[in-house]
Amino acid sequence: MDKQLHENICEERMFSSIFNKHSKDLHNFLYYKFGELLNPKDKVQEAFVKLWENCAKVSPDKAKSFVFTTANNLMLNETAHQKVVLKHQQTKPKMYTNENPEFLMQENEYHDKLQKALANLTEAQRVAFMMNRVEGKRFKEIAELLGISTKAVEKRIYGALEKLRKDIKEL
């Protein structure tokens, strides 16, 4: 605690360490929540520039929630409640080469379904789910990141999984 009193975000070293610690999570959070179209990278930049401008007012332990809230607000200002367009990464990394055309077609079909199903999830569900499945984060980490309880994270992720499977079957 004492240390925090003396540490100041206005110092470049401190600022950089905060950036290194949180920027990737923030970026992923924005990406899974709002999709790619709204330039999550830019929002991360903007949020951290704002953090720098307010470095005297924000204590280091508040920095994470500051940038998350700021970036989220920046996004919301821009989306203005337009329907979120999700363009998740389409090119699948080629793990194996011995695919026959039929398999490829099925694969593509499945892919499309998955994409639509993901778009149907709520923002909260999608963020938690993707962080867990794709980024490999555990429930507890996600809970910390989003500032909610582990139980709530589990509920969101489980719910997302069930909904996805149901949607994929139906599509």
């Binding site: 950036f19 520039v49 993707m130 589990e154 994929i168």
Partner: protein, 298 residues
């Protein structure tokens, strides 16, 4: 073990070996793995933290928000100071001008304790700021100077430049009339790039561009300082002009030669006596209406 819990644990990467076996035996195991693999395709582009950090730091530095925080108020203060200073500078370096109106006389103390008496309807200009280095006044009209000792003292007039080596002298400069009388010390008069030095009692007179010789002055100071205008063989028009300045009236001459010479004086405190003083010797009659006096020769 319950299927839901198993899946939850799988999601949280919290399965132990035993549970993993049970989980693998679940009927939807394949489905889940397939889904999981499919999801990997939606992974975020590689996010290069250090690259992004560099960009942010560059943005911050180019913004220079830090510096503008003190720069703006600083500029405000600086601007106010600049305005104040220039105003101060302007007012202190401004020439001081003293003007007298009709029938008004005044005495001015110059910055070095020299005295200037200014006769009616005259203008004296000098610069306070530069006084130490440059004792110079500009005169339009008539003034009597009592100059304190020091470096040279100059009086600039339209007609000529008067340099003072001594202490007391009178300068009179009206249209086509320029007269310097030295009462004490030594005075130099530059006229047409020629310097004439005047000793006490000497005078220098130019009327209509001609230098006119005058006899020695034996007073200790000009008569106007004791509220009297004295003339010795002066053209009548200069007498009239002086009268106009002292009483603030307009005089019209009818049938009178304005170039004829006049010797005499008039007082500044009684107009009726004064008008008699300048009319009787020439046998001229006068009539007065408001501010206009008409002089007529029968």
């Amino acid at each position: 073990m319950d299927r839901d819990i198993l899946i939850s644990k799988w999601l949280d990467n919290d399965l132990n070996d035993q549970e993993l076996e049970v989980f693998k035996a679940l009927e939807d195991y394949d489905d889940l793995v397939k889904l999981n693999q499919g999801l990997q395709a939606f992974k975020v582009d590689d996010y290069n933290t250090s690259e992004e950090l560099d960009t942010v730091l560059n943005t911050i530095k180019s913004n220079k928000k830090q510096s503008t925080q003190w720069f703006k108020p600083f500029m405000r203060v600086a601007a106010i100071l600049a305005v104040c200073f220039s105003l101060y500078y302007y007012t202190t370096t401004l020439d001081t001008t003293i003007t007298t109106e009709f029938a008004q006389k005044t005495t001015i103390k110059l910055p070095d304790a020299s005295n200037v008496s200014l006769n009616a309807k005259s203008i004296l200009t000098f610069n306070k700021k530069d006084w130490k280095h440059n004792r110079e006044v500009e005169l339009d009209g008539e003034a009597f100077f009592k100059v304190a000792k020091g470096s040279s003292f100059k009086v600039k007039t339209k007609t000529g430049l008067v340099t003072v080596y001594g202490t007391q002298f009178n300068v009179k400069q009206w249209d086509n009339y320029f007269e310097v009388i030295c009462y004490e010390g030594l005075v130099g008069v530059h006229y047409n790039s020629q310097e004439t030095k005047l000793n006490p009692g000497d005078s220098f007179l130019i009327i209509d561009g001609k230098i006119i010789a005058k006899e020695k002055e034996n007073r200790s100071q000009p008569s106007w300082l004791s509220n009297e205008s004295t003339f010795k063989s002066s053209p009548y028009k200069t007498v009239i002009a002086e009268f106009e300045r002292q009483y603030g009236v307009r005089i019209t001459l009818v049938n009178i030669d304005s170039d004829q010479l006049f010797t005499g004086s008039f007082a500044h405190d009684n107009m009726d006596v004064a008008i008699k003083a300048i009319t009787l010797p020439l046998r001229v009659t006068y009539s007065k209406t408001n501010n206009t006096i008409i002089l007529k020769r029968e």
